[in-house]
Symmetry: C2
Subunit: 359 residues, 2 copies
């Protein structure tokens, strides 16, 4: 008899991450990586840990990291749950909260992984349709808030870079579930992050914030993220994580990274300066840019030929992210565009040099 896996797994296509060529020679502006290297303290910490006792299990709770992050964020270490990338935090949250058939909700368009995680957990998904200016229909939001066990909201959103106000977020907190504020790009924002909400708002026990070291700390290769939530929530999430979900080297590296706030801020300032240049230059080539606050830019060209533009840039060994979202409104509809990661000045110059000829 043929082996059958679960129906939901069999039927799902699987999440497809952005292209990751393993050879050099590409200008990679397609997966929101930080173009600058991590703090030199990270490299030192890794080599030191490599000579440590790798034959024994790591600290199951990654205590040194929790203490360092707690110090930076001014929360108690018991609020912090380190994970193998913030994708793992998102996975843990949905496995802690959602039975099959439960509703997970998210704005749309957004990070496509939320939908894949819901499919793996055999959940129903509901999309909160975004207008072009990032607003939504309050009646629909209220319905989803009543239904959702988990409401994923990235702030800034991807691919648009939109940052919703705390007041708008408060209207998405599920009545019987959690609001998950995915702050993967929050270090690039101008205003305050969601940490203040955890400490002061009336829904602080309904909120989980996720963070990653992949973007602002230049450590996409390391896989390290963490969540911040009240201990009553974090304690349940700990049951779901693998016992030793972070390895000894990653713990040492992540601890060194978060302790070097100066390095992270310097890298961020360079990226924000380059973003301004990119945003100012794109309209001359016929692009309309959505105002955003992340280390990427969401843009649409007057020709609408987004896929072709990306293909032509590929010939120049420049990778951008062509994105196409279907079902972008209650009546369906398709939205596509190009997400451009903010690289170094040199990378962005190389892009601007040729983009006019590629549109």
């Amino acid at each position: 008899m043929t082996l059958r896996v679960r129906r939901n797994i069999d039927e799902m296509p699987g999440y497809v991450p952005g292209e990751q060529p393993q050879e050099s020679g590409w200008i990679k502006l397609n997966t929101n990586e930080n173009p600058y290297p991590p703090s030199p303290h990270v490299v030192d910490a890794i080599c030191r840990a490599a000579r440590g006792p790798l034959n024994v299990y790591p600290d199951a709770l990654a205590t040194p990291f929790r203490e360092a992050a707690a110090d930076v964020l001014q929360v108690d270490p018991d609020w912090i749950l380190p994970a193998n990338g913030s994708d793992e935090n998102l996975t843990i949250i949905i496995r802690t909260m959602c039975d099959p058939g439960d509703v997970t909700a998210f704005p749309w368009p957004t990070y496509v992984l939320y939908e894949s995680l819901a499919q793996i957990q055999d959940c129903r998904t509901e999309r909160l349709y975004l207008e072009a200016d990032g607003t939504w229909d309050e009646a629909q939001a209220q319905r989803l808030r009543e239904q959702a066990r988990v409401f994923f909201v990235p702030r800034p959103n991807s691919p648009t870079g939109t940052v919703w106000s705390p007041e708008a977020l408060s209207r998405l907190v599920p009545e019987r579930g959690l609001l998950v504020l995915d702050e993967a790009y929050a270090d690039f924002m101008a205003g305050p992050t969601g940490i203040g909400l955890l400490k002061t708002s009336e829904f602080s026990e309904r909120l989980v914030i996720t963070r990653t070291l992949s973007k602002s700390y230049s450590l996409a290769g390391l896989r390290f993220g963490f969540s911040i939530a009240a201990p009553a929530i974090t304690r349940q999430m700990r049951k779901v994580k693998d016992s030793y979900n972070c390895d000894a080297i990653a713990i040492a590296a992540a601890t060194a990274a978060i302790q070097d706030q100066d390095w992270m801020r310097a890298s961020r300032e360079k990226i924000l300066a380059t973003r301004r240049r990119l945003v100012e230059a794109l309209p001359a080539a016929g692009f309309r840019v959505t105002p955003g606050e992340a280390n990427f830019v969401w843009t649409q060209h007057e020709s609408g030929a987004h896929r072709e533009i990306c293909e032509r840039l590929r010939q120049h060994r420049i990778l951008l992210r062509y994105m196409r979202f279907s079902g972008v409104g209650p009546q369906g509809g398709v939205l596509d565009g190009i997400r451009i990661t903010v690289g170094t000045d040199e990378q962005v110059d190389a892009l601007l040099d040729v983009i006019g000829a590629c549109v």
Copy 2:
């Protein structure tokens, strides 16, 4: 309103791993770690990778490791799924195969994590009761084989070190599911591992083998495991794993480790020699040893005072693993004993020096 997580998560106690003191000065014979360091090539590979492009995402499929492991095991790389420890492979398997309410089965006593993973997935669990000599009732096995979606079988088993024959295993392959052969300790076995079954048996499409680098490769601190299964199964499991579940440094380290088979074999030979000494010495202190083929020894003392013996050894800064299993037969019943990891000769000498005074 109080936040409710899933009922199964709320009610489960959570898996409790063995004690991991983070300070030095302990003789740790409680969590089956390898007392010897990993290959020096591993340390070199880590430091080299630390100076590489950590700002970009790693290879999502850990291709260099898959190719190296495929070469060692003489299988195609598409049969191999690397993961963040073999615990993650086990998690991926159960999430791929089991809907809530589905049956997962395993021998009992065994690795307690199988039960925790089933609880997280809200599965029913069924125990195949083991006699003292490691045999089971064939009628019960047949019933479980009809019911189970996943049958977890560690070979060697923990805590007993039992190795079941391929013929016995063939009678556990679920009719509508997978046999998962957990070969965490297989490098310490005398006879052939399960890889041959994958290549030749009539149930090769119903079998997943899991391996870890934690034990025989001295890399518990690194978190790296992998599964070996037919591509039709591996392809479905890939949908369930996090996109980048192995980091760039772990991939480099694991690749170097598996390529240094000589180092692994030398470390194994030392451990097997020390195991013989330990097994021969324990009876003089009143212990009965279960014959086993792993890097640990399952033993019971004539006094039955296993918990107390472990507590007394703790005073000498020696950690053994006291284990207590309830429900060890259809009518209940309790089995307890002590699992002793085979350390270095010096560590085992230190244990033997004081154990007589601790019983």
